[in-house]
Subunit: 213 residues, 4 copies
DNA sequence: GCTTAAGCGAGACGGTACGTCCGGTCTTACC
DNA sequence: GGTAAGACCGGACGTACCGTCTCGCTTAAGC
């Protein structure tokens, strides 16, 4: 979880065409399982290498840090889950049944479930925390993992605007944050329990506003 | 940033009446300055002890972890700032001018400024990140630092409800999250710039709701 | 067996009054036993630390290299052997029975035995080899281990000169090398077997000369 | 400088007729220059391969160890020097002017010069040291490099015996060691300076004997 | 002249050890 | 008994090389 430091003296990049796919996969699995078992902090690069049956240098050759390994492993996990779900390996969308509130509740409830899924919780907490402290890693985390999801909200909200379900003056990129950030807040800071009811309330409050109509 | 591990065998507590105030203060200052200079990760307990002119044991005697030191140092920093501001050392409140939107914008803008203040940024990022990964520390962080601030929103929103500026069905503890979480989200994840304009927009969106009236 | 490199940045010397005698002894024993068991090259600092039940840093704190550890361990071994032999902990001398040839043969035969003693062979070969390649270590080796022994020959040969058994023009410091070097040569380079008979022959040849009288 | 370990499983020998002469020479040069520049210990096989513009495998294919590479390189260096000197590429002999002492002094002085020649010093020290610790390498070193030279002394001393300049009872193989070993001793152990005067003294002492006549 | 098999440069790989850094405990001397 | 100092055991760090193992490529020999 190192704050970005002076960049490496560059050296020369290794030849990625000769990379061992076998090792790459083994490292992903070792990293994820270790983080799940002993937590991020007590997961070490040596430990990952040992469990993966890989030389340490093979990790250092391809990743700059423990966090970077875990980020890639986590992305890969997501891709595999996606492939398993929809064979087209493709893109997700927020459903559009015509009922905006219902659609958002569906999605946010699913998000709650995902955030609380023990399989994902440890690594995603660790990555988020690492990204908070290390801007470079954070940027990668946001770009690869977060923004694609957020974009789906933008799309759905824009459709809602066209359907007249959202006021025209509203910027969807901001609006989505009223929906998503409260969940993230509870999840990250553990202030109060993160439940489906909470997700529903957030949708209702955000759509209807706090002020009387 | 250790995930909570098996608790210490307790041993016997040291006698806090004989504690050296001098050392305590020096440790706070050393911790804060080091985190500011080299970042949280590269700040070490040895480094803090050395800069504070203190034996390592003096730190281990009174704090369980690096994060705990920093949390206390940060709380102390807050208290000192508070004392400097209002001599009564007392409590803050969100202003109540009768214009809820304006009052919230004032406070959220101030929050934006504080989050971006370089003096506070490094340690509070570090603490937040540590708390995300270590539940025990996170709980302390929330209880001592976050909840007191959030309570102020509850108070203000309840007053607004009585004044008819917020719908009666609304739970202020949830409502406040629509206001605060989006700022926290941008600050922590650095998705988009955190500005006064953004704070204003969040207040307007949250009060007015996304749906057309 | 590092050739002397640029000297350390000095740092500050540790406080030798607080040194752990226990660790020191354990390190000596571990070093000697490992060299005996697996050879000098395959003896590692990590291995010594592990067998001695000591942190690596405790070795690096007090010795600059593996060879230095072994040299001290070997010196200590010699001292202990000396103490065991003569309780006065004192000095040795080459016997002076009046018969120079016999006295020298006695000593050189003993030297042969010592060189071939399996307990000493591995470490002393290793140290000699290390000293050949690393001048600094070599100097220490010669000063602490070799020269004291050689001085005994100087003394005995001078006595012989006074007794008329050695020509007056002879420089004892050079003469001793005619006696000692051939044994060392056979031992180090393993050209031909190192035996008592060889020791006797060397003494006879050196005293009597190669040329006819 | 590995102590001889369990021998290789033999594998199959490579086809030496297809060997690249170019690479062989480049490896010799790289090895010798690196040993001269950074010392034997810090010379690595990877370094030799890199400087020679050669794959590591090309070294491992033809030599069992770093020491073996250097030994061959050094032998080759000697051969080249020999060719440069006497075009017949042939055999040396110790001169026989009839004056044994003078002839020996000539040769031993030349030996002193050679031992102190910076071009040869680093590699021959390294090889000797390696041979001291690794018996297999030592044997090769002695057989290929040392014994041929020593044989010349045997020849010359035998001639001297026939000429009546050396006593008949003397074994030349032992006698030569009285002459050569003292020089080797000073050179290897750096006890005292290795000079022409010392070489002369050794010859005089050895021929005349230490005892009065 | 075309195949084929070996040597070759290159360098990724699983490992081992390096020498350093720091965590957390323990000891010593001082106050 | 708290403190400054710092030695201690332990263990991870990131690096350097080891010796093995593919990869294409060149280059001869054998067909």
């Amino acid at each position: 979880m190192a704050e970005t430091r002076n960049p490496k003296p560059a050296a020369k990049a290794p030849d990625s065409t000769r990379r061992s796919e076998r090792s790459r996969r083994a490292i992903y699995e070792a990293a994820l399982s270790l983080v799940g078992e002993v937590g991020y902090t007590r997961t070490t690069i040596e430990g990952i290498a040992a469990r993966a049956g890989v030389g340490k240098q093979t990790i250092y050759r391809w990743w700059p840090s423990k966090a970077a390994v875990l980020l890639e492993a986590f992305l890969d996990l997501g891709e595999q889950a996606a492939e398993a779900a929809g064979a087209e390996g493709g893109e997700y969308e927020i459903p559009d049944t015509g009922d905006l509130a219902a659609d958002l509740k569906t999605v946010l409830r699913a998000t709650v479930d995902e955030l609380l899924d023990p399989k994902y919780e440890a690594p995603s907490r660790a990555l988020t925390a690492a990204g908070i402290v290390d801007p470079a890693l954070g940027a990668e985390f946001v770009e690869k993992l977060l923004e694609p999801s957020l974009q789906l909200y933008v799309n759905r909200l824009r459709a809602a605007q066209e359907a007249g379900d959202v006021r025209t003056g509203i910027d969807p990129r901001i609006a989505l944050e009223l929906l998503v950030a409260p969940l993230a807040h509870r999840w990250l800071l553990r202030t109060l329990p993160l439940t489906h009811e909470y997700a529903d309330a957030v949708v209702d409050y955000a759509l209807g506003g706090l002020a009387p109509r």
